[in-house]
């Protein structure tokens, strides 16, 4: 197993493989997202309580899921990079950060757009939105630390360490915010309304989730390739690009 893992981790191999996979994942993402959107906006019935407003779920939930998935992937890649000194893993971690931050921002924006008709305010200290906000700060901290280091090697290791420590803290933060939010569960604050998800409401959501996943893979591989180029300096294989 170790041989193949190491062989896969060699930059030229990853670079070519990614080049091959990007169009496939790109097309899959496009189709899935379009079908999911059509399903969510047209086919799915309106929610009896929130009417058509609930359709924002089809972008909010996938974004929120992807934001956490991106952070976890980033921290795992950084951990691998730190432990086994694999530069490719650091390249993947560096590539995952901007996309993760964008998904987190999307989750916050769509969450507040969804909250406005429900609560009448753009922002309410709902447990999930607050966790999402802290996750955004974790991403911003990661990216600013990476930007503050001019040497790529040092930037990789410093931000990698922050990501690993951060990922240990994410569950703690999540549950402390849930705990904090449940204590103030006065009548005024309704948890982000969770409409009852039935069959024909559910499949578009799953489609959107997989679509967002494929999109994430696409952009991750594109960014990872440029990170690989940045770290390979002048190895021979670059010559025949």
């Amino acid at each position: 197993m170790w041989k193949s893992f190491h062989q896969f981790a060699s930059p030229p191999h990853f670079y070519r493989l990614a080049g091959y996979l990007i169009p496939w994942f790109g097309v899959a993402a496009l189709i899935l997202i379009l079908v999911g959107t059509y399903g969510g906006l047209v086919l799915a019935p309106a929610d009896y309580q929130q009417g058509d407003g609930f359709r924002i779920i089809y972008v909010h939930v996938p974004s929120a899921t992807m934001s956490l998935a991106a952070y976890t992937l980033m921290a795992t890649a950084a951990g691998i990079g730190l432990i086994w000194r694999i530069k490719l893993a650091h390249a993947v971690a560096a590539a995952a950060a901007p996309i993760g931050a964008s998904f987190t921002f999307l989750a916050l924006a769509t969450g507040s757009l969804w909250g406005k008709p429900m609560w009448g305010t753009w922002w309410a200290w709902d447990a999930r939105l607050t966790s999402e906000l802290i996750l955004l700060f974790l991403f911003l901290g990661y990216m600013s630390l990476r930007a503050a280091n001019d040497d790529t090697g040092k930037a990789d290791r410093a931000s990698g360490l922050l990501a690993v420590v951060g990922v240990v803290n994410v569950p703690i933060i999540h549950y402390s915010v849930e705990w904090w939010n449940s204590l103030h569960q006065g009548a005024t604050i309704i948890k982000l309304g969770e409409p009852a998800i039935t069959g024909d409401m559910l499949w578009p959501l799953l489609t959107m989730m997989v679509g967002f996943g494929c999109y994430f893979a696409t952009v991750l591989m594109i960014r990872a390739r440029s990170q690989v180029l940045q770290r390979e300096r002048n190895s021979r294989w670059l010559k025949d690009l």
Partner: protein, 225 residues
């Protein structure tokens, strides 16, 4: 070269001696803590009901910010004069040495807060029953803040980014401490049993004590590379 912990005492003693050589600087976190706590009543209103309600949040928020205040000096001055290099190459286990430095920083910047806390609590009309919980909560919460802060300081040493980036890195990670600390005091103020949040603070402290020194040592090595 006796046991692995022998370096701990030596570094702790040096850092404390250094801190006491500059008593003015040593008082900064304490003054900052008092200043912040004084500002809120000015910003809100002198009216006891309101202040009593927000007292736990103000006190804990002020404690969090004060413990971050003197952090960029923790490794910064050693980095500039080269003693950080000597520490890393001293042949002692680096996590133990950075734990010693962090302990010295905690003793100098966080302990005074615990001592002064009841004074400020009374200024914010916090009921007397909650003072004990406040002090105990600060006692077991601020070490984690110092450890998290030390890691942020180690990561940003030598980058010349000052405490702005340091706070951005540390504050998100410190939110659970703030939540449990303030909630504990709030429960005690309402006469309820605050033992739950205090246990959670203690649990986080032990997690931090066991893992963070390793991360801080790694961060120091990275910034010295």
């Amino acid at each position: 070269m006796s046991g692995p912990l022998s370096g701990f005492g030596v570094v702790l003693a040096r850092d404390l001696r250094l801190a006491f050589r500059r008593p003015g600087e040593m008082a900064n976190p304490l003054l900052f803590f008092i200043l912040i706590t004084a500002i809120f009543p000015l910003g809100l209103s002198p009216e006891p009901e309101l202040l009593r309600a927000v007292a736990p949040g103000i006190l804990w928020g002020a404690a969090l910010l004060s413990s971050l205040l003197a952090l960029d000096l923790l490794f910064g001055s050693d980095y500039e004069d080269g003693s950080l290099e000597q520490l890393v190459l001293s042949g002692h286990s680096l996590p133990v040495l950075v734990l010693a430095k962090t302990t010295a920083h905690w003793v100098v910047s966080a302990l005074p807060l615990v001592v002064v806390a009841p004074l400020l609590a009374s200024a914010l009309y916090l009921p007397q029953e909650a003072w004990g919980t406040l002090m105990l909560g600060l006692l077991i919460g601020t070490p984690t803040l110092s450890l998290l802060g030390a890691m942020g300081a180690a990561l940003t040493t030598g980058l010349g980014t000052g405490s702005a980036l340091l706070s951005l890195l540390v504050l998100p990670l410190a939110t659970p401490i703030l939540i449990f600390g303030a909630r504990g005091v709030d429960l005690a103020a309402q006469g309820m049993d605050p033992v739950g949040p205090l246990y959670l603070l203690a649990a986080i402290l032990f997690l931090a004590l066991s893992l963070l020194p390793l991360a801080i040592a790694a961060a120091v090595r990275i910034s010295l590379d």
